[in-house]
């Protein structure tokens, strides 16, 4: 019995301070308490918990970052999809409107241009985007397909007004304020800002003029104007698909005689398509000087210049 021995030794010593005799250690090992059964289990549980927490600390931020990336990419996909659906819906509604004709209110404000249209609504906070919508049947007949609305559409849905296209019925409507003119009638539309005819007898004077090509089949296509991801960009400068590009000036140049001008344009401009260049206003001013010096005339398509100027070059051999 360790404890008895311990007690014996304890009482054999009178004064421990002066005692030199050593009492060995561990004599009271019988007093060791038994560990509760659940102790080991709960220790390991806590260890596991701690380990998981540690893992979470390490991998948590990585997982969170991955989730954010996935969420953002997913959101972008949804956004792109919805934009596409929206633009499709718009096109559809425009087609419907085109086929059914414009409303009386729209008649008063419609301005017809060849192959392009522009809408403006001064009452609306958000400026409407430019869309080109055509009624296939009417386009075939008229080769005209553009409208412009100038802010008198109070209480009107801009989308509806935007999408109004020329139809045979429009002839009557255009008589009110803006005259729509079809090629068949060979009449020209009168607009507030005035329109000009191009070589095809159809040029639109708008901020965004959609230029139709000579290809009739393309003129038939109902939606030429392609909306970008950003609808505002479409509004600002909608470059129509394929070879229909809105431009401000057309210049006739000779490949041999006007090399310096062509070089200047190529150097300072941004090529949008074949024969179409985008220049900054400053560069355009320089170009303008060069053109004046060489006596080259510019054919104006749209004078509504903002920050950039789009020019079309007609090259002569």
């Amino acid at each position: 019995m360790g404890e008895k021995e311990y007690i014996d030794k304890m009482f054999s010593v009178d004064d421990f301070e002066k005692n030199e005799e050593e009492i060995e250690g561990g004599l009271l090992d019988n007093l060791i308490e038994e560990v509760p059964e659940s102790l080991h289990e709960s220790i390991m549980k806590k260890i596991d918990k701690h380990k998981n927490r540690l893992n979470f600390k390490i991998y948590g931020p990585i997982a969170a970052a991955a989730c954010i990336i996935i969420a953002i990419s997913f959101q972008n996909k949804v956004f792109v999809k919805s934009t596409k659906i929206e633009s499709k819906d718009e096109a559809k509604s425009e087609r419907k409107l085109a086929s059914s004709g414009s409303t009386p209110e729209e008649k008063n404000t419609a301005k017809v241009y060849d192959n392009g249209m522009k809408t403006e609504d001064t009452n609306a906070k958000e400026a409407p985007s430019t869309e080109l919508a055509k009624n296939m049947s009417n386009v075939e007949k008229s080769k005209l397909s553009g409208f412009e609305f100038n802010g008198s559409n109070e209480g009107k849905n801009p989308v509806e007004t935007r999408g109004v296209t020329k139809s045979n019925e429009d002839k009557d409507q255009a008589e009110a304020q803006s005259l729509a003119k079809s090629n068949e009638d060979k009449s020209q539309a009168e607009t507030r800002d005035s329109t000009k005819s191009n070589e095809d007898k159809s040029q639109a004077e708008t901020q965004d003029i959609a230029k139709s090509n000579e290809d009739k089949s393309q003129a038939k296509t109902q939606s030429i104007a392609k909306s970008n991801d950003d609808v505002n960009q479409v509004k600002a400068r909608s470059l129509t698909k394929s070879n229909s590009i809105a431009y401000n000036f057309e210049i006739k140049l000779s490949n041999e005689k006007n090399k310096d001008i062509i070089e200047f344009i190529e150097k300072n401009g941004e090529k949008l398509d074949e024969n179409f260049y985008k220049l900054s206003v400053n560069n355009f001013n320089v170009l303008d000087e060069m053109l004046k010096k060489q006596g080259i005339e510019k054919i104006t398509s749209c004078e509504n210049i903002e920050k950039e100027v789009i020019i079309k070059i007609n090259l002569k051999e």
Binding site: M1, E3, K4, Y6, I7, D8, M10, F11, S12, V13, D15, F16, E17, N19, I23, G25, G26, L27, L28, D29, N30, L31, I32, E33, V35, P36, L39, H40, S42, I43, M44, K46, I47, D48, H50, K51
Partner: protein
């Protein structure tokens, strides 16, 4: 398996190795905690706390001292923190000895269980410093050097503290009716 190998594996976050390692120390830690805080529930919690501390910091164990010494030191410091938090002297939970039931007759042979209970009670009556050295030396059977490492005091101080603790325990035993010849 060798303790050293287990420690190495624990450093690599090997859970099983830690389980094996801690299993051999649970009892020692628990007893130190129990005698220091004088309460089974707190001892239970403190043992867990110590185990987590060991798990967290085992990679810092350099091997300068014995692993058992290192473990004891962590347990001791954990208990000290706990005592500081509590401040007031912890009440002995009385589950071992019911003073009223002890009617010792010195001239009779006292049952072993009773002796143990009395000694335990007397140890619990000691102050914290004395109690600690009695646990480490007389119950756990550690050497002076080990105790010195755990308590971070000189060996001479350990010896003298043990002597004083024993003297105090002897006095307590006498108070509780235990005398020579039991």
């Amino acid at each position: 398996m060798e303790e050293r190998k287990l420690i190495e594996r624990c450093r690599k976050n090997d859970r099983d190795a830690f389980e094996t390692l801690i299993l051999s120390y649970e009892k020692k830690i628990y007893n130190l905690c129990f005698y220091m805080v004088k309460n089974k529930e707190d001892a239970f919690d403190l043992t867990q706390e110590t185990a987590i501390k060991i798990y967290k910091s085992i990679s810092k164990f350099k091997g300068d001292s014995k692993f058992s010494t290192w473990v004891y030191r962590i347990a001791y410091n954990t208990c000290l923190d706990f005592i500081k938090r509590k401040k007031d002297e912890l009440p002995y939970d009385d589950m071992i000895v019911n003073e009223n039931n002890i009617n010792y007759r010195m001239d009779n042979v006292i049952e072993s269980k009773e002796t143990k209970a009395i000694i335990k009670k007397c140890i619990m009556q000691l102050n914290s410093d004395y109690r600690t050295v009695i646990i480490l030396r007389d119950i756990s059977g550690l050497s002076y050097k080990e105790i010195s490492d755990i308590l971070q005091i000189e060996i001479g101080t350990v010896k003298s503290r043990i002597n004083r603790a024993r003297q105090a325990l002897k006095n307590e035993l006498i108070k509780n009716g235990i005398a020579r010849g039991c």
